[in-house]
Protein backbone atom coordinates (compact mmCIF):
# COMPACT_ATOMS: atom_id res chain seq x y z
CA UNK A 1 0.00 0.00 0.00
CA UNK A 2 2.71 2.45 1.04
CA UNK A 3 4.80 1.32 -1.88
CA UNK A 4 2.00 2.13 -4.28
CA UNK A 5 1.57 5.57 -2.73
CA UNK A 6 5.23 6.34 -3.24
CA UNK A 7 4.99 5.17 -6.82
CA UNK A 8 2.04 7.41 -7.37
CA UNK A 9 3.87 10.33 -5.75
CA UNK A 10 6.85 9.70 -7.99
CA UNK A 11 4.60 9.68 -11.01
CA UNK A 12 3.06 12.93 -9.89
CA UNK A 13 6.44 14.54 -9.26
CA UNK A 14 7.66 13.34 -12.65
CA UNK A 15 4.61 14.81 -14.20
CA UNK A 16 5.19 18.15 -12.46
CA UNK A 17 8.86 18.13 -13.48
CA UNK A 18 8.01 17.46 -17.12
CA UNK A 19 5.31 20.10 -17.10
CA UNK A 20 7.62 22.75 -15.61
CA UNK A 21 10.35 21.91 -18.13
CA UNK A 22 7.94 22.14 -21.07
CA UNK A 23 6.62 25.47 -19.79
CA UNK A 24 10.16 26.84 -19.42
CA UNK A 25 11.03 25.59 -22.92
CA UNK A 26 7.94 27.33 -24.30
CA UNK A 27 8.91 30.54 -22.50
CA UNK A 28 12.44 30.35 -23.97
CA UNK A 29 11.01 29.79 -27.44
CA UNK A 30 8.78 32.81 -26.92
CA UNK A 31 11.76 34.96 -25.94
CA UNK A 32 13.72 33.66 -28.95
CA UNK A 33 10.86 34.68 -31.25
CA UNK A 34 10.56 38.02 -29.46
CA UNK A 35 14.24 38.85 -29.74
CA UNK A 36 14.19 37.84 -33.43
CA UNK A 37 11.13 40.00 -34.06
CA UNK A 38 12.30 43.01 -32.02
CA UNK A 39 15.73 43.20 -33.65
CA UNK A 40 15.31 45.68 -36.49
CA UNK A 41 18.07 44.01 -38.46
CA UNK A 42 18.05 40.32 -37.60
CA UNK A 43 21.50 39.55 -39.01
CA UNK A 44 23.52 41.30 -36.32
CA UNK A 45 25.80 39.64 -33.80
CA UNK A 46 23.67 40.82 -30.86
CA UNK A 47 20.34 39.63 -32.21
CA UNK A 48 21.76 36.31 -33.40
CA UNK A 49 23.40 35.81 -30.00
CA UNK A 50 20.27 36.47 -27.97
CA UNK A 51 18.11 34.32 -30.26
CA UNK A 52 20.64 31.48 -30.22
CA UNK A 53 20.94 31.57 -26.42
CA UNK A 54 17.15 31.43 -26.02
CA UNK A 55 16.88 28.53 -28.47
CA UNK A 56 19.68 26.68 -26.67
CA UNK A 57 17.91 27.14 -23.33
CA UNK A 58 14.66 25.86 -24.86
CA UNK A 59 16.49 22.79 -26.18
CA UNK A 60 18.01 22.18 -22.75
CA UNK A 61 14.61 22.23 -21.10
CA UNK A 62 13.13 19.89 -23.71
CA UNK A 63 15.99 17.39 -23.63
CA UNK A 64 15.59 16.49 -19.93
CA UNK A 65 11.94 15.33 -20.02
CA UNK A 66 12.41 13.75 -23.45
CA UNK A 67 15.35 11.63 -22.23
CA UNK A 68 13.51 10.77 -19.00
CA UNK A 69 10.48 9.51 -20.90
CA UNK A 70 12.64 7.59 -23.35
CA UNK A 71 14.67 5.99 -20.55
CA UNK A 72 11.51 4.64 -18.93
CA UNK A 73 10.13 3.39 -22.21
CA UNK A 74 7.22 5.83 -22.22
CA UNK A 75 6.30 7.06 -25.71
CA UNK A 76 3.14 9.07 -25.18
CA UNK A 77 2.75 10.13 -28.81
CA UNK A 78 4.04 7.15 -30.74
CA UNK A 79 1.64 5.45 -33.15
CA UNK A 80 2.22 2.03 -34.61
CA UNK A 81 0.47 0.53 -37.59
CA UNK A 82 -1.80 -1.67 -35.48
CA UNK A 83 -5.40 -0.51 -35.11
CA UNK A 84 -5.79 1.31 -31.76
CA UNK A 85 -8.66 0.22 -29.48
CA UNK A 86 -10.60 3.45 -29.99
CA UNK A 87 -10.99 2.58 -33.66
CA UNK A 88 -11.61 -1.13 -33.32
CA UNK A 89 -15.41 -1.07 -33.60
CA UNK A 90 -15.75 2.07 -35.69
CA UNK A 91 -17.66 1.94 -38.92
CA UNK A 92 -15.71 4.06 -41.40
CA UNK A 93 -17.32 5.41 -44.54
CA UNK A 94 -14.92 7.02 -46.98
CA UNK A 95 -15.19 7.47 -50.72
CA UNK A 96 -13.05 9.26 -53.26
CA UNK A 97 -9.65 8.52 -54.71
CA UNK A 98 -6.42 10.51 -54.63
CA UNK A 99 -6.90 11.18 -58.34
CA UNK A 100 -10.34 12.73 -57.73
CA UNK A 101 -9.01 15.01 -54.96
CA UNK A 102 -6.06 16.03 -57.14
CA UNK A 103 -8.48 17.00 -59.94
CA UNK A 104 -10.53 19.06 -57.45
CA UNK A 105 -7.35 20.77 -56.21
CA UNK A 106 -6.24 21.54 -59.78
CA UNK A 107 -9.71 22.92 -60.56
CA UNK A 108 -9.60 25.17 -57.48
CA UNK A 109 -6.10 26.41 -58.35
CA UNK A 110 -7.16 27.13 -61.94
CA UNK A 111 -10.22 29.10 -60.78
CA UNK A 112 -8.02 31.11 -58.38
CA UNK A 113 -5.62 32.04 -61.19
CA UNK A 114 -8.59 33.04 -63.38
CA UNK A 115 -9.93 35.23 -60.56
CA UNK A 116 -6.60 37.04 -60.12
CA UNK A 117 -6.40 37.51 -63.89
CA UNK A 118 -9.96 38.89 -64.03
CA UNK A 119 -9.17 41.38 -61.26
CA UNK A 120 -6.82 43.18 -63.68
CA UNK A 121 -9.42 43.64 -66.43
CA UNK A 122 -11.29 46.94 -66.41
CA UNK A 123 -15.01 46.12 -66.16
CA UNK A 124 -17.84 47.83 -64.26
CA UNK A 125 -17.89 47.07 -60.54
CA UNK A 126 -21.15 45.12 -60.44
CA UNK A 127 -20.17 42.85 -63.38
CA UNK A 128 -16.80 42.18 -61.74
CA UNK A 129 -18.53 41.45 -58.41
CA UNK A 130 -20.95 39.03 -60.08
CA UNK A 131 -18.19 37.13 -61.89
CA UNK A 132 -15.93 36.92 -58.83
CA UNK A 133 -18.73 35.81 -56.51
CA UNK A 134 -19.93 33.31 -59.12
CA UNK A 135 -16.47 31.76 -59.40
CA UNK A 136 -16.14 31.75 -55.60
CA UNK A 137 -19.48 29.96 -55.26
CA UNK A 138 -18.24 27.27 -57.68
CA UNK A 139 -15.06 26.92 -55.62
CA UNK A 140 -17.06 26.74 -52.38
CA UNK A 141 -19.33 24.08 -53.86
CA UNK A 142 -16.30 22.02 -54.93
CA UNK A 143 -14.77 22.27 -51.44
CA UNK A 144 -18.04 21.35 -49.69
CA UNK A 145 -18.90 18.51 -52.07
CA UNK A 146 -15.54 16.76 -52.33
CA UNK A 147 -13.16 17.99 -49.61
CA UNK A 148 -15.88 18.15 -46.95
CA UNK A 149 -17.25 14.89 -48.30
CA UNK A 150 -20.84 16.11 -48.42
CA UNK A 151 -21.43 14.54 -51.83
CA UNK A 152 -20.92 11.11 -50.27
CA UNK A 153 -23.13 11.73 -47.23
CA UNK A 154 -26.77 10.82 -46.89
CA UNK A 155 -29.19 13.08 -48.76
CA UNK A 156 -31.06 13.93 -45.53
CA UNK A 157 -27.93 15.67 -44.15
CA UNK A 158 -27.42 17.64 -47.37
CA UNK A 159 -31.07 18.70 -47.38
CA UNK A 160 -30.83 19.84 -43.76
CA UNK A 161 -27.65 21.90 -44.08
CA UNK A 162 -27.56 23.46 -47.54
CA UNK A 163 -31.06 25.01 -47.77
CA UNK A 164 -30.60 26.41 -44.23
CA UNK A 165 -27.49 28.35 -45.08
CA UNK A 166 -28.73 29.38 -48.53
CA UNK A 167 -31.99 30.79 -47.13
CA UNK A 168 -30.24 32.58 -44.26
CA UNK A 169 -27.77 34.24 -46.63
CA UNK A 170 -30.63 35.25 -48.94
CA UNK A 171 -32.38 36.82 -45.92
CA UNK A 172 -29.20 38.77 -45.14
CA UNK A 173 -29.36 40.20 -48.66
CA UNK A 174 -32.85 41.66 -48.15
CA UNK A 175 -31.55 45.10 -47.16
CA UNK A 176 -28.74 45.07 -49.71
CA UNK A 177 -30.55 46.96 -52.53
CA UNK A 178 -30.77 49.93 -50.15
CA UNK A 179 -27.03 50.39 -50.57
CA UNK A 180 -27.56 51.44 -54.22
CA UNK A 181 -30.05 54.07 -53.05
CA UNK A 182 -28.03 55.27 -50.07
CA UNK A 183 -25.46 56.98 -52.28
CA UNK A 184 -28.00 59.10 -54.14
CA UNK A 185 -29.86 59.92 -50.94
CA UNK A 186 -26.70 61.21 -49.34
CA UNK A 187 -25.75 63.18 -52.45
CA UNK A 188 -28.95 65.21 -52.32
CA UNK A 189 -28.53 65.57 -48.57
CA UNK A 190 -24.96 66.94 -48.80
CA UNK A 191 -25.88 69.31 -51.64
CA UNK A 192 -28.67 70.72 -49.50
CA UNK A 193 -26.56 70.73 -46.35
CA UNK A 194 -24.58 73.99 -46.75
CA UNK A 195 -27.83 75.97 -46.58
CA UNK A 196 -29.28 74.17 -43.57
CA UNK A 197 -26.02 73.34 -41.80
CA UNK A 198 -24.10 76.58 -42.19
CA UNK A 199 -26.91 78.88 -41.12
CA UNK A 200 -26.63 78.21 -37.35
CA UNK A 201 -22.84 78.40 -37.55
CA UNK A 202 -23.05 81.86 -39.08
CA UNK A 203 -25.55 82.90 -36.47
CA UNK A 204 -23.07 81.95 -33.77
CA UNK A 205 -20.35 84.26 -35.07
Amino acid sequence: MANENIRELLKKSDFVMIGVCVLLAAACLFFAAKSAADAGNFLTIDSLFFTAVCLLLALTFVVVPALTLRERGIHPFRVGDEVPPARANEHVHFEGSTRLFLYVLLGLLALTVIEVFLAYIHVPLHIMLTILIGLSLIKAAMIVAYFMHLRFERMSLVLTLIPTIVICICLLFIVFPDSFRAGSLRATHTSAEPVAGSAPAHDGH
Partner: protein
Protein backbone atom coordinates in the same frame (compact mmCIF):
# COMPACT_ATOMS: atom_id res chain seq x y z
CA UNK B 1 -49.81 2.47 -40.13
CA UNK B 2 -50.17 2.38 -36.34
CA UNK B 3 -47.14 2.79 -34.11
CA UNK B 4 -47.41 -0.84 -33.01
CA UNK B 5 -46.84 -1.98 -36.55
CA UNK B 6 -43.34 -0.46 -36.48
CA UNK B 7 -42.24 -2.00 -33.21
CA UNK B 8 -39.31 -4.32 -33.69
CA UNK B 9 -38.65 -3.22 -37.24
CA UNK B 10 -35.87 -0.94 -38.47
CA UNK B 11 -37.05 2.39 -39.86
CA UNK B 12 -37.51 2.16 -43.59
CA UNK B 13 -36.87 5.77 -44.58
CA UNK B 14 -34.53 8.53 -43.50
CA UNK B 15 -37.13 10.57 -41.70
CA UNK B 16 -38.95 8.24 -39.32
CA UNK B 17 -36.45 8.67 -36.50
CA UNK B 18 -33.98 5.83 -36.62
CA UNK B 19 -30.95 5.91 -34.36
CA UNK B 20 -28.94 7.77 -37.01
CA UNK B 21 -31.25 9.69 -39.31
CA UNK B 22 -28.25 11.40 -40.91
CA UNK B 23 -25.90 8.42 -40.59
CA UNK B 24 -23.26 10.64 -39.00
CA UNK B 25 -22.24 10.74 -35.35
CA UNK B 26 -23.48 13.49 -33.07
CA UNK B 27 -20.04 15.12 -32.98
CA UNK B 28 -19.87 15.39 -36.74
CA UNK B 29 -23.41 16.75 -36.88
CA UNK B 30 -22.42 19.27 -34.20
CA UNK B 31 -19.45 20.42 -36.27
CA UNK B 32 -21.68 20.79 -39.32
CA UNK B 33 -24.13 22.93 -37.35
CA UNK B 34 -21.25 25.04 -36.02
CA UNK B 35 -19.99 25.48 -39.58
CA UNK B 36 -23.43 26.63 -40.73
CA UNK B 37 -23.62 29.20 -37.92
CA UNK B 38 -20.04 30.36 -38.53
CA UNK B 39 -20.80 30.69 -42.24
CA UNK B 40 -23.65 33.02 -41.27
CA UNK B 41 -21.26 35.13 -39.16
CA UNK B 42 -18.85 35.50 -42.05
CA UNK B 43 -21.57 36.16 -44.60
CA UNK B 44 -23.04 38.86 -42.36
CA UNK B 45 -19.63 40.53 -42.13
CA UNK B 46 -18.89 40.25 -45.85
CA UNK B 47 -22.36 41.51 -46.81
CA UNK B 48 -22.02 44.44 -44.41
CA UNK B 49 -18.65 45.27 -45.93
CA UNK B 50 -20.13 45.09 -49.45
CA UNK B 51 -23.02 47.29 -48.33
CA UNK B 52 -20.66 49.93 -46.92
CA UNK B 53 -18.59 49.77 -50.07
CA UNK B 54 -21.46 50.03 -52.56
CA UNK B 55 -23.17 52.85 -50.65
CA UNK B 56 -19.96 54.92 -50.38
CA UNK B 57 -19.04 57.54 -52.95
CA UNK B 58 -15.53 56.13 -53.22
CA UNK B 59 -13.56 53.30 -51.74
CA UNK B 60 -9.76 52.96 -51.62
CA UNK B 61 -8.26 50.41 -54.03
CA UNK B 62 -4.79 50.40 -52.53
CA UNK B 63 -3.38 46.91 -53.18
CA UNK B 64 -0.44 46.91 -55.63
CA UNK B 65 0.52 43.76 -57.54
CA UNK B 66 3.60 43.47 -55.36
CA UNK B 67 3.55 42.80 -52.46
CA UNK B 68 -0.20 42.63 -51.65
CA UNK B 69 -1.66 40.62 -54.55
CA UNK B 70 1.35 38.31 -54.84
CA UNK B 71 1.21 37.70 -51.09
CA UNK B 72 -2.53 37.07 -50.94
CA UNK B 73 -2.46 34.78 -53.99
CA UNK B 74 0.38 32.78 -52.41
CA UNK B 75 -1.65 32.59 -49.20
CA UNK B 76 -4.61 31.26 -51.19
CA UNK B 77 -2.42 28.61 -52.81
CA UNK B 78 -1.08 27.60 -49.38
CA UNK B 79 -4.62 27.23 -47.99
CA UNK B 80 -5.83 25.23 -51.00
CA UNK B 81 -2.79 22.96 -50.82
CA UNK B 82 -3.33 22.48 -47.08
CA UNK B 83 -6.95 21.53 -47.75
CA UNK B 84 -5.71 18.85 -50.13
CA UNK B 85 -3.21 17.52 -47.58
CA UNK B 86 -6.03 17.45 -45.01
CA UNK B 87 -8.15 15.30 -47.34
CA UNK B 88 -5.18 12.97 -47.70
CA UNK B 89 -4.86 12.88 -43.89
CA UNK B 90 -8.52 11.88 -43.52
CA UNK B 91 -8.05 9.26 -46.25
CA UNK B 92 -4.98 7.81 -44.52
CA UNK B 93 -6.86 7.79 -41.21
CA UNK B 94 -9.83 6.03 -42.82
CA UNK B 95 -7.47 3.23 -43.84
CA UNK B 96 -5.94 3.20 -40.33
CA UNK B 97 -2.56 4.37 -41.61
CA UNK B 98 -2.01 6.57 -38.57
CA UNK B 99 1.61 7.51 -39.22
CA UNK B 100 0.80 8.73 -42.72
CA UNK B 101 -2.24 10.57 -41.38
CA UNK B 102 -0.07 12.35 -38.82
CA UNK B 103 2.42 13.39 -41.51
CA UNK B 104 -0.35 14.72 -43.74
CA UNK B 105 -1.81 16.70 -40.81
CA UNK B 106 1.69 18.08 -40.20
CA UNK B 107 1.81 19.25 -43.82
CA UNK B 108 -1.61 20.86 -43.35
CA UNK B 109 -0.40 22.70 -40.26
CA UNK B 110 2.64 23.90 -42.20
CA UNK B 111 0.33 25.35 -44.86
CA UNK B 112 -1.73 27.07 -42.17
CA UNK B 113 1.35 28.50 -40.45
CA UNK B 114 2.75 29.76 -43.77
CA UNK B 115 -0.61 31.46 -44.37
CA UNK B 116 -0.48 33.08 -40.92
CA UNK B 117 3.10 34.35 -41.33
CA UNK B 118 2.42 35.83 -44.79
CA UNK B 119 -0.78 37.44 -43.56
CA UNK B 120 0.91 38.98 -40.50
CA UNK B 121 3.63 40.44 -42.77
CA UNK B 122 0.85 41.89 -44.93
CA UNK B 123 -0.84 43.40 -41.84
CA UNK B 124 2.49 44.82 -40.73
CA UNK B 125 2.90 46.55 -44.12
CA UNK B 126 -0.54 48.17 -43.86
CA UNK B 127 -0.15 49.21 -40.22
CA UNK B 128 3.28 50.63 -41.06
CA UNK B 129 1.66 52.66 -43.86
CA UNK B 130 -0.61 54.20 -41.21
CA UNK B 131 -3.83 52.24 -41.77
CA UNK B 132 -5.98 52.07 -38.63
CA UNK B 133 -9.50 50.68 -38.09
CA UNK B 134 -11.14 54.08 -38.45
CA UNK B 135 -8.43 56.06 -40.20
CA UNK B 136 -7.07 55.71 -43.72
CA UNK B 137 -3.34 55.63 -44.31
CA UNK B 138 -1.87 59.09 -44.91
CA UNK B 139 -1.45 59.04 -48.69
CA UNK B 140 -4.75 57.23 -49.27
CA UNK B 141 -6.80 60.16 -47.96
CA UNK B 142 -5.26 62.29 -50.72
CA UNK B 143 -5.73 59.69 -53.44
CA UNK B 144 -9.36 58.94 -52.49
CA UNK B 145 -10.61 62.12 -50.79
CA UNK B 146 -14.27 61.03 -50.91
CA UNK B 147 -13.67 57.63 -49.32
CA UNK B 148 -15.05 56.98 -45.84
CA UNK B 149 -12.47 55.84 -43.27
CA UNK B 150 -14.03 52.37 -43.00
CA UNK B 151 -11.47 50.48 -45.10
CA UNK B 152 -9.31 49.60 -42.10
CA UNK B 153 -12.27 48.54 -39.95
CA UNK B 154 -13.62 46.14 -42.56
CA UNK B 155 -10.19 44.83 -43.56
CA UNK B 156 -8.91 44.20 -40.03
CA UNK B 157 -12.22 42.81 -38.74
CA UNK B 158 -12.82 40.32 -41.55
CA UNK B 159 -9.24 39.16 -42.15
CA UNK B 160 -8.59 39.24 -38.40
CA UNK B 161 -11.53 36.95 -37.66
CA UNK B 162 -10.40 34.65 -40.46
CA UNK B 163 -6.82 34.67 -39.18
CA UNK B 164 -8.13 33.74 -35.73
CA UNK B 165 -9.95 30.78 -37.32
CA UNK B 166 -6.73 29.69 -39.06
CA UNK B 167 -4.80 29.96 -35.79
CA UNK B 168 -7.46 27.96 -33.92
CA UNK B 169 -7.45 25.40 -36.72
CA UNK B 170 -3.67 24.93 -36.53
CA UNK B 171 -3.89 24.43 -32.75
CA UNK B 172 -6.84 22.02 -33.17
CA UNK B 173 -4.97 19.99 -35.82
CA UNK B 174 -1.89 19.92 -33.57
CA UNK B 175 -3.93 18.31 -30.78
CA UNK B 176 -5.46 15.81 -33.22
CA UNK B 177 -2.03 14.94 -34.68
CA UNK B 178 -0.53 14.31 -31.24
CA UNK B 179 -3.46 12.23 -30.01
CA UNK B 180 -4.14 10.38 -33.25
CA UNK B 181 -3.42 7.03 -31.61
CA UNK B 182 -6.17 7.63 -29.06
CA UNK B 183 -8.86 9.27 -31.16
CA UNK B 184 -11.45 7.75 -33.44
CA UNK B 185 -11.39 8.25 -37.18
CA UNK B 186 -14.43 10.47 -36.86
CA UNK B 187 -12.45 13.01 -34.80
CA UNK B 188 -9.88 13.35 -37.57
CA UNK B 189 -12.65 13.78 -40.09
CA UNK B 190 -14.31 16.49 -37.96
CA UNK B 191 -11.07 18.45 -37.66
CA UNK B 192 -10.84 18.14 -41.46
CA UNK B 193 -14.33 19.61 -41.82
CA UNK B 194 -13.28 22.64 -39.74
CA UNK B 195 -10.10 23.14 -41.76
CA UNK B 196 -11.91 22.96 -45.11
CA UNK B 197 -14.40 25.50 -43.82
CA UNK B 198 -11.56 27.92 -42.99
CA UNK B 199 -10.34 27.41 -46.56
CA UNK B 200 -13.85 27.95 -47.93
CA UNK B 201 -14.28 31.27 -46.12
CA UNK B 202 -11.01 32.54 -47.60
CA UNK B 203 -12.40 31.77 -51.08
CA UNK B 204 -14.83 34.64 -50.44
CA UNK B 205 -12.57 36.94 -48.40
CA UNK B 206 -9.80 36.85 -51.02
CA UNK B 207 -11.82 38.16 -54.02
CA UNK B 208 -13.97 40.56 -51.99
CA UNK B 209 -11.22 42.15 -49.90
CA UNK B 210 -8.16 41.81 -52.12
CA UNK B 211 -9.16 41.39 -55.77
CA UNK B 212 -11.85 44.09 -55.59
CA UNK B 213 -9.23 46.52 -54.21
CA UNK B 214 -6.52 46.06 -56.81
CA UNK B 215 -4.48 49.17 -57.54
CA UNK B 216 -4.32 49.29 -61.33
CA UNK B 217 -1.47 51.78 -61.19
CA UNK B 218 0.63 49.56 -58.89
Amino acid sequence: MSTEAHVGRLPATDWDGGALPYRVGHRKLGMWLFIVSDAMTFSAMLITYSYARVSSDAWPTPFPFYPSIIFSTTMTLFLLASSFTMVMAVRASAHNRLRAARHWIGATMFGGLAFLVLHLIEWEHLIHDGLRPFRLAGEWAHRWPEAPPLFGASFFAITGLHMFHVFTGVAYLGVIALRIGKTRHEDVEISGLYWHFVDLVWMFVFPLIYLMSVDFGG
